[in-house]
Amino acid sequence: MEYFSMGGYAAYVWPSYGIAMLILVGLLINSWSITRRYEADLICMCQNRSDIEPVSIDITEK
């Protein structure tokens, strides 16, 4: 219990670690969900449209 009091600075140390880890985990989940959503949609669309090869599409806007 002595340890968790952080020499009397528990109210500053623990929230700092908590918020930092919360933001990092949030960023990671967000990054992962973007990838999963778009890649899943892409696979669906390619399966429905067998005439399109995704690799042959240029992503530069004409």
Partner: protein, 239 residues
């Protein structure tokens, strides 16, 4: 067509290194946190508040590296019109905004006991706040156009103009009389920080950096897939 072969080669390499950085990140965070919270000593002046440094300083490094990535990608996109560079800048912006938010919040928690205030308008704190707004501005601007290339170009100009803020952040503690202390690590005469505190700082730095690489690769894959989807929908609609 050479864009596509570049793209495939890039994602081959990215997917190959992704598991390595996942493992490094997953390993470094527990080890870094163990040294930061348990193994390292309290400071003789600041007491245990010095432990905030181990989440605050690596986040600040990450925020700077992220902006550097965004600015360089923006320059490549503006000069060579390389689509992957546009996606890289877009991928880096939210990560950088998150890192900068960590810097600001943990800095405030550190400032309250040590300085007696959570916020002052001094050069270092203000320039980091501007960095945060630059990230938000980039995200807003890059997504404000129907055409992602036009949005990317507008954002790229903002990112490059805002890059002037990077040396200002780095040297603000030397140029102005700030409440924020100057760097203890990047000094000509070597670090002025004891090894017991340097180790957790570097471990957490590696942890943050490897996580940054993981999130960059994931976001680039997602944004690339999103761009392909958009192209296919446009092609389907014009048929």
């Amino acid at each position: 067509m050479h864009h596509i072969s570049n793209m495939n080669r890039f994602f081959c390499i990215a997917n190959a290194i992704l598991p390595i950085f996942c493992v490094v990140s997953a390993g470094m965070f527990p080890v870094g946190l163990y040294y930061a919270l348990i193994e390292s000593p309290a400071d003789y002046q600041q007491g245990d508040t010095v432990r905030i440094m181990y989440v605050h300083v690596p986040a600040a490094w990450g925020a700077m590296i992220c902006y550097l990535t965004m600015a360089m990608a923006s320059a490549v996109f503006l000069i060579y019109n390389q689509p992957l560079a546009n996606l890289a800048a877009r991928a880096a912006a939210p990560i950088g905004a998150g890192f900068t938010l960590i810097v600001l919040v943990t800095g405030s928690f550190w400032g309250q006991p040590v300085w007696g205030t959570g916020w002052v308008w001094d050069a270092r704190l203000t320039s980091v706040l501007i960095l945060f707004f630059l990230y938000l501005g980039y995200i807003a601007l890059a997504n404000a156009f129907e055409d992602p290339d036009r949005g990317g170009r507008a954002g790229a100009v903002l990112a490059l103009v805002g890059a002037i803020n990077l040396p200002i952040i780095k040297f603000s503690v030397d140029w102005w009389n700030t409440l924020h202390q100057s760097s203890s690590l990047w000094r000509i005469r070597g670090p002025s920080i004891v090894p017991e505190m340097l180790l957790p700082l570097l471990l957490m730095g590696c942890a943050y950096f490897s996580l940054f690489v993981v999130m960059m690769i994931l976001r680039l894959r997602g944004l690339y897939a999103g761009r392909l989807l958009r192209q296919m929908r446009i092609a389907a609609a014009s048929r």
